[in-house]
């Protein structure tokens, strides 16, 4: 499966999903006009890639400085897909990066941690971001 790369725009994040290396990264700000439309193809590709993953170690890096409400909702579905892959016998590490002062993103990470217990969740608080 080809790697997926979408360059960042001022209102959408960089998507750098290196399926060939099992390393998937999301970085930037996420408030596209239509989050469902922006992420639907991304999530579909992830789902079909994950369907073929067995016993893999997958690393997911998320460094989003801001995401709007509709992105939050869609991201939840993305992490649900990773969690299912982890329950199917893959090891999925989620590196969750956020500004140390950003309670909203910290709390969303904690919710992911609570809801998606199969993920190997690592919180990374960055200073002065």
């Amino acid at each position: 499966m080809d790697d997926l790369y979408i360059a960042a725009t001022p209102t959408s994040p960089e998507v750098d999903f290196r399926f060939s290396q099992n390393v998937l990264s999301l970085k930037g700000e996420s408030y596209p006009e239509n989050a469902a439309a922006f992420y639907s193809d991304v999530i579909n590709q992830v789902r079909s890639w994950l369907a073929a993953c067995q016993g893999q170690h997958i690393v997911v890096n998320v460094a989003l400085a801001y995401f709007n409400s509709s992105s939050t909702k869609v991201l939840f579905n993305l992490f649900d897909a990773f969690n299912q892959a982890a329950m199917m016998g893959n090891h999925v590490t989620l590196n969750w990066f956020h500004d140390e002062e950003d309670d909203t993103i910290l709390e969303f990470g904690q919710e992911l941690h609570d809801d998606f217990g199969a993920l190997d969740f690592h919180d990374h608080a960055l200073s002065g971001a």
Binding site: T11, E33, A36, S70, D102, T104
Partner: protein, 197 residues
């Protein structure tokens, strides 16, 4: 090509005076940002840039800046998606352009955001049913409702996640305020919402 005739000096003076009055009124009311016109994703992105710069030099604490920014984006994107004054066809769900206004100011040592856009009058009831309950909820209850909304299917009439108002309520330090003002001679109302950060 003929040069346009210059207006008499007195009219010029009047225009400057009106503009000075307008600026002075905005200054006295501590308005730091105001936009009225069409909202598209590009315009919201550009306004977000302007707001970020403004907030960076404001000396405000990081969390407050983020809450203001977040509420701004939710309000501005609500206008893109839901204003009843649209330049683009109603069935479009991307590249939409719709009319409204947004204002950010300071009042009693708190930042506030106000936004306004026309809606069909028949939507008043459902909007009221969405926003009114948030006004009496505690922050913990709002966060709980937010968690539940994240895990539920989107309402069919929502292009977003149905969590936009919950996000505003979560970021606000006071209950959200809103009102509907009927537009004369139309079956529409102006919908105003205010968040105090």
């Amino acid at each position: 090509m003929n040069q346009p005739e210059l207006a008499p000096l007195s009219e010029h003076t009047m225009i400057y005076q009106q503009y000075r009055d307008f600026c002075e009124a905005a200054r006295q009311r501590h308005v730091i940002f105001y936009y009225v016109g069409y909202f598209s994703q590009h315009i919201v992105g550009a306004m977000a840039d302007a707001l970020k710069l403004r907030l960076e030099v404001s000396g405000l604490a990081g969390p407050t800046r983020r809450k203001l920014f977040s509420s701004f984006v939710e309000m501005a994107q609500n206008i893109i998606h839901y204003s009843d004054d649209a330049l683009t066809p109603p069935d479009l769900d991307n590249h939409e352009v719709r009319h409204g206004s947004v204002c950010i100011g300071i009042e009693n040592d708190h930042y506030y955001l106000l936004c306004a856009n026309p809606i069909k009058r028949e939507l008043e009831t459902s909007l009221r049913q969405t926003v009114e309950p948030l006004r009496t909820m505690t922050l913990e209850e709002i966060k709980q409702a937010y968690k539940e909304a994240l895990r539920s299917e989107s309402p069919v009439d929502s292009k977003g996640a149905g969590v936009g108002f919950l996000t505003m309520a979560r970021d606000a330090s006071e209950p959200l305020e809103f009102e509907f003002v009927p537009m004369a001679g139309e079956d529409r109302s102006m919908f105003y919402i205010k968040a105090i950060i």
